[in-house]
């Protein structure tokens, strides 16, 4: 099914993002071997890229910029913090095994729980601000949640890139809750594996912060591999 005949006429659907994920992946594999399809994709791509200009022009509400910049500045201040390396969580102080209960772990995640590094330590507790060290299931990677008042920010280092076609999603589990709640935060680490992401809402009632890999648009309940887990209380 990888011959050119099978894919003739597909370039348009591809540049319009109108292919289902499986077909898109198969077509991308075909593109690596078919110069004719590659040429056609390059020919059609500018037409698809021009389509947004056909939208009636509108101004975003001013409040949107304020919300976005508030998150950006909060995260930028952590990246720019002097001292220990803002995008590098502090070294772990102690480790203890912990059980993640009350939500469905993917089978792969269960395996990783055994093989991975399980750490849950609270460090740097100060007046109004402290850091909670997280368990990271990948050797060499590290993460913590920095809490300032009722605001929390995930700061991670040396995270691997998520699997192809997937992104990382942050989940929160409230005290007394048995299932994690999705947040709107989907992210891909920077090239050096660092990531800083503000956790939306008030974290004072949050028992656990979790990160899994999910399909590109995120999920309503976890489907992927558990990567990070921070027990807040």
């Amino acid at each position: 099914m990888s011959g050119h005949e099978h894919w003739a006429d597909s370039a348009g659907a591809y540049v319009l993002e109108a292919m289902p994920p499986d077909e898109r992946e198969a077509f991308e594999a075909h593109l690596t071997t078919c110069a004719a399809c590659r040429e056609e994709v390059e020919e059609l791509r500018p037409a698809a890229a021009a389509l947004p200009m056909a939208s009636p022009p509108m101004l975003p509400p001013p409040g949107l910029k304020d919300r976005i910049m508030a998150e950006v500045e909060r995260e930028a201040s952590l990246v720019a913090q002097p001292g220990e390396g803002a995008d590098r969580p502090r070294p772990r102080r102690r480790a203890r095994l912990t059980m993640l209960t009350g939500w469905r772990l993917a089978p792969v995640a269960a395996g990783l729980l055994i093989a991975g590094v399980l750490v849950g330590a609270m460090v740097g507790r100060g007046a109004g601000s402290h850091s909670v060290e997280a368990s990271v299931m990948v050797p060499g990677a590290s993460a913590e949640v920095r809490v300032d008042g009722d605001q929390g920010t995930l700061v991670a280092a040396r995270l691997p890139a998520p699997p192809r076609g997937r992104v990382y999603e942050i989940w929160v589990m409230s005290k007394g809750s048995k299932a994690p709640r999705p947040t709107s935060v989907l992210f891909v680490p920077r090239g050096d594996g660092s990531a800083v992401a503000a956790i939306p809402g008030d974290v004072s009632d949050v028992h656990q912060v979790l990160v899994t890999d999910e399909p590109r648009g995120g999920s309503e309940s976890p489907t992927g591999r558990l990567l990070v887990s921070a027990t807040m209380s």
Partner: protein
């Protein structure tokens, strides 16, 4: 004394964003958020949906360290590509029959951005060229292109909707884009 970020080209500003410069990111937001929001509104059909998509898209650009690749087009194309992805993801999370393409606000609330600079005037002109190119296609071709690009529907969903073979739908997409490409080339749109 300080660097005047607003005098820099997008490609230079992006380098600063990559290093975690929030002010540089603000410049990118100011330059491209009107186009981003317009696209998001066109796709989502509601102001709230458009705000969510625009916010998610810009924060993901920031968090990924602005993984912009100059070889793949302008910063604007990159930004709008991310918005498009995010909107498609949001639309595909919703059941097809729940989708509404009509807006939730009256026309009076769809306030247009003002033309303030030569750059914006040029963009307005280009936008007109793109609209003409799209509208001048045979309706069966513009229809599948709009359903796919702005509606976030897959070719199989469109084929079901129109009761047409998938191959026909794909063919119309390809042919329509080919004609648009030729027309935009003639109109010298910066694509």
């Amino acid at each position: 004394m300080g660097l005047d970020l607003r005098s820099l080209a997008d490609e230079e500003v992006i380098q600063l964003v990559r290093r975690g410069d929030a002010r540089a990111f603000e410049v990118i937001y100011e330059r491209h958020s009107p186009a981003a929001f317009s696209l998001a509104y066109r796709m989502m059909g509601t102001r709230a949906g458009a705000e969510d998509v625009t916010q998610d898209a810009f924060l993901s650009m920031w968090r990924s360290g602005a993984r912009y690749d100059r070889a793949r087009g302008s910063v604007r194309t990159w930004v709008l590509g991310i918005v498009h992805h995010r909107a498609i993801d949001a639309l595909r999370r919703v059941m097809v029959h729940d989708r509404r393409r009509t807006g939730d606000e009256g026309i009076e609330e769809r306030f247009e951005s003002e033309v303030r600079t030569d750059v914006e005037a040029a963009r307005r002109e280009e936008a007109g060229t793109v609209r003409v190119a799209l509208e001048s296609l045979p309706s069966d071709q513009s229809q599948v292109i709009e359903l796919a690009y702005f509606g976030g529907f897959t070719h199989t969903e469109i084929a079901d909707m129109l009761d047409a073979p998938v191959g026909t739908v794909k063919g119309r997409m390809r042919l329509g884009l080919k004609k648009m490409r030729a027309q935009l080339g003639e109109g010298r749109v910066a694509v």
